[in-house]
C-alpha cells in the first residue's frame, strides 16, 4: 500500500505543478534521461527529454493554460515501474489520462503521459452493445 500511496502522491504532485505553473517542479518530477514520452490531447507522440520538457515548458508557463482537476486516480505497480490512470476534468470536459512512472533512487519519476478526450464519462453497459460507436477501436 505504501507503493500505491507514493505513486498517487507523485501523480498529485504532477497536477499541482501544472496548477501552480511551476515548471521547475515539473522538471524535477520527470526522469532525467531520454526514455520518456508524452502524448498531449490532439498531439502526435513526443519522444525524448528535450521534446517532452519543451512542450511542458510552453504549456505550464502559459498563463492561459486551463485548470485541470484529477479525479479517480488508480495505481498499477509492477516492481519499479508503475502508472496511474485517472480522469482529468478540464474546463468541464473529461479526459482519460495515463501517467507512467519509474522508481529511481526510491522516488517515482514521470516517464510518460498521455491524455485523451472522453466521449462520455458515464458508461451504461446495457447501451454499449447496441451503440456502434462504442465498438469502434
Amino acid at each position: 500500500m505504501n507503493d500505491e500511496s507514493d505513486i498517487i502522491a507523485a501523480n498529485t504532485t504532477f497536477y499541482a505543478a501544472f496548477a501552480a505553473g511551476d515548471f521547475a517542479a515539473m522538471t524535477r518530477l520527470w526522469a532525467d534521461d531520454d526514455r520518456m514520452s508524452c502524448i498531449h490531447p490532439g498531439w502526435p507522440p513526443l519522444i525524448g527529454r528535450t521534446a517532452v520538457m519543451d512542450s511542458w515548458r510552453d504549456i505550464v508557463q502559459n498563463p492561459s493554460r486551463p485548470r485541470i482537476t484529477c479525479a479517480e486516480p488508480y495505481a498499477i505497480i509492477d516492481g519499479d515501474s508503475g502508472r496511474v490512470l485517472c480522469i482529468e476534468i478540464v474546463d468541464g470536459a473529461a479526459l482519460a489520462a495515463t501517467n507512467a512512472f519509474r522508481r529511481i533512487d526510491g522516488a517515482w519519476r514521470l516517464v510518460h503521459h498521455q491524455s485523451s478526450p472522453i466521449a462520455q464519462i458515464i458508461r451504461q453497459p446495457q447501451e454499449d452493445a447496441s451503440d456502434p460507436t462504442r465498438r469502434l477501436h
Copy 2:
C-alpha cells in the same frame, strides 16, 4: 537492439491480431493478471483483465471494425518494462497510440493500450508559438 526488435514484433502482432479478428491471439498477447489497463479512443480507463479483454472481444469480433495501420513504431525499454509509441491510421484519420508491455518469461506481453486522435499529424514548430490551440494541455 534485440529487445527493441522483439517489442516492435510484439506490437506488430497486436495489430495483426486486430486486423485478423483473432481474439485468441489477442488474448495470448495480453498479460495474464489484473495489472492491465486500456483507454480506447473516447473511452474512460478500463482496468483489470476482465474489463480490458471484454472490450477487446467486442471490438475484435465486430466484423465492422475499422482497418488500422500502425506507422512509425518507436520502442522505449527499461528492463522488463517497455512501451511502443506509434501512429495508428484508422479510416484515414491519425491516432497516437501507446502500447505498454511487460516481459514475462522472456516474452513481451501487453499490459496497457491507449489511443487518442491527433488533431494534426505534421507539426510546424514556427506556428506552434502563435497557435493557442497548441498550448492547451
